[in-house]
Amino acid sequence: MNACRNGINTGADNTMYISSKASRARQREAQNARDNRAEIIKALSIGQITRRDLYKWGLLTVTGAMALKNGLSPFASSAYADDIPTGTPRSPLGTATKFSQPMPRLALQVPYTLTKDQATGNAVWPAGLGERDSKRLSWHSEFTNFNTQNPGYPYNNNPFRNPITARGPLEGRPPGEVFAHQRWDEFFPKVGYIMSWGQVATGTKFHAGMTAQNPNAIWTYGAGRFVRGTLPPFLIKGRYGEPILTRIYNNTPLNREDNGGFGRNESQLHHHNAHNGAESDGAANVHHFPGTFYDYRWSTTLARRDTINTQATEPRASGPNGNGGLVNVKGDFRELQGTLWAHDHRFFFTAENVYKGNLGMVNYYSGPDRGNEELADGVNLRLPSGKLLDYGNLDFDVNLVISDAATSQNGQLFFDTFTTDGFLGDLPLVNFAYAPYMNVLPRKYRFRILNASMSRFYRFCIASPNNQKINFKFIANDGNFVVNPITLNTLDHQGNAERYDIVVDFSTFPVGSRLKLVNLLEMRDDGRGPKDTLSLGEALQGDDDDPVIGPMLEFRVVSSVPSVDVPGYTHFATTPDNSQVPNTLTVQIPIVAPVRTRLVEFGRSGSGDSRGPNGQCTPDCPENMPFPWTIKINGQDAHSMNANRISLLIPQPGQIEHWTYVNGGGGWDHPIHLHFEEGITMNRGNKPIPNTELLVRKDVWRLRESGSVTFQVQFGEYGGSYVNHCHNTVHEDFAMLMRIQLLTGVPGSPQTAVTPTPNPSPDGITFTNPEILPEGDPRT
């Protein structure tokens, strides 16, 4: 491949991964380089050396990147050929081959019913679980109060302390009203989930022919308290009108160095991009520690509930009641959300933790998007899904978590923490399985495609058995319906965290046919963004330098499939497909004159200022971590991430703003994610807007090379501290992220004022008063 197709030299004349046809000498050379890097990463993680040592030894550049030296960097010239890079060794496949294992469906979680204790107002878990109640205020409050009333901590046997470490509170949520669950009684949780994040179960593999992962190679979620994690990732089915309490236990190792070489044993779980209070958004600088839990209340609030449809009379603003009917909710049905996900957001370590397995998906069901393809009540759109359950059928509604990974030569998951540009893997994964196949019936299917990669973008099409692109219908972008389905044969670029919902009709293909989901997109070697779109023919041939180009998933048309909704039930090809894809899915929200406009530039200006006068980051970050990625507001000075700095402040609920994001740099792309609210995409500068974006609600926008995007946004219902950042999580960690402060809580709530910054530690939370950038504060 030619690394200079776009005219930018990416620092190498070839791709990052060396060809499998390379000489043994070159492969040894590449492996040595990776081993050296891994050795240094490990030494850093256990404090054997510091980044300062690396600077001193000349092994680290001021950008924080590993010096371009043979024996260290995949981009350094090979000793065997001056003009080609060392490269990175390919991940060993063992006996695995593509399309030789069935695709696992995501691990559906089973909810518990919660009841309300009328005396305390607490949510009570089923008795057999032995769980403490979930409360409006954090258990941290009890921990603090007990210490105040019973001096002598840590020897006072505080019953509210971390049960594993006996140090600090048992709940990671900060104490006091600022981190109380907003609108608790109004959105009292009716169901709950108990999950633990920790070492992966013994024997977990990406493919039966590959090496089993060590417990600390992958940290993912498992159902229950202090249990091991499992793959594939979790799936939670939510519905409007049924608030959820998700209790997450941190079951990772107590010692930071027990991390398999990368990953931080602290987490805050971001429910991307659900409409929740800041205390449950998972990005308010409230990571918690091993041994503790955090109660996230996922409210299922429909946006604009305080201003639109306040009597809950609009039937499209609703959720399924479980018995064929609907529960109306307040709010604007045009703001309904569907395909969501959840992932770690520990600032400065998000890429490592998400890559390591801290993620899952959440589908929200509503009156129109019922997950039942036959129930005809005039509200339900009857999209492909199934019919055996009242709502949330998954038989023909399939979540696809797309990602790329790499392993070291011993087969263990590998991540290069020295890259500040991006990380590309060479293993194509679907639901964390290596290039699987999926049996499908000759009928319509809905696919919810999530790009869960750290830096890799994708561009998908579906190849027919005779290698032609087939048409499909695009129905939702980032979980938001487009007004009218759009017929395509190739998706747009799909950046990190973007979700595309499509409907594929396999009915024209006879049983025995095989089709493929094909990635056409060639990435820049440095991971900064996409390069070229290949033709289907080129992509199908595969790319020896980048095995994630080409087919990633094979669809096999079969005559029957077992139900995943009702185990033991079998669906047959002869069963009529009564699902529909209506011509109208929702109603357009109009573009109106804004109260104000904002300009946000994402680039590499200056040297970053994440550290305070004391030299520390907020929250803590690796020693001498560099901050090459920065953000500017309204043309003012550039800043890198600091959780104690507010870059944008939203003064009131309901005000409509127009924001323009500009890619401040030259040759790369940034997928920018806005937490909490979606924006209606209006403008791409002087460049065209694809139909899949034009006037469509989104929460992640790819800026494109030298590109811009303008969207309309409105905040409401909840307030507090949220963030806005690049979702190339490597850029995010280094530290292209800013805090936004929403003074949009209900009147009288703490969130109508600027909230203090929580500073988590194993001993508990302390608060500081944040700095506010004047260019981001429109008050007076």
Binding site: C4, G7, N9, D35, N36, E39, I40, K42, I49, W57, G58, L59, T61, V62, T63, A65, A67, L68, K69, N70, G71, L72, D526, R528, I591, R596, T597, R598, L599, E601, G603, R604, S605, G606, S607, T630, N634, G635, Q636, A638, V662, G664, G665, G666, G667, M682, N683, R684, G685, N686, I689, L695, E705, S706, S708, T710, P774, E775, D777, P778
Partner: protein, 105 residues
């Protein structure tokens, strides 16, 4: 592989003769016509106070930002060198060149 032996053996050879990438440090410079920068203003007493920066953006500001980004991309193409660190290059903003079409939506 032992770290120190790594550093002594494989990396010591590497260190010799290898060029360390120099950081490019440049301050932001924009030409006249930049409508976005808050500049210090002199008071009657001679003291300097910082004017409150704009809290709402204009189409001009967006236009300039896009032109600046395009200038960097053009420089990258011309030089063949990827922007590495804080490289804000001087460029001349031309208000007559419209890169931001407010009528697109």
């Amino acid at each position: 592989m032992n770290l120190m032996s790594t550093l002594r053996l494989s990396l010591s050879a590497v260190l010799a003769g290898a060029a360390v990438i120099a950081a490019v440090s440049a301050s932001a410079q924009t030409a006249a016509g930049n409508l976005t920068t808050a500049t210090p203003a002199a008071t009657a007493s001679g003291a300097t106070v910082k004017r409150k920066p704009p809290t709402s953006a204009t189409a001009e500001m967006v236009n300039e930002a896009i032109q600046r980004s395009e200038a960097r991309a053009a420089k990258g193409r011309a030089s063949g060198i990827t922007e590495r660190w804080g490289t804000e290059e001087p460029f001349t903003y031309n208000p007559a060149v419209r890169r931001f079409n407010t009528d697109q939506q």
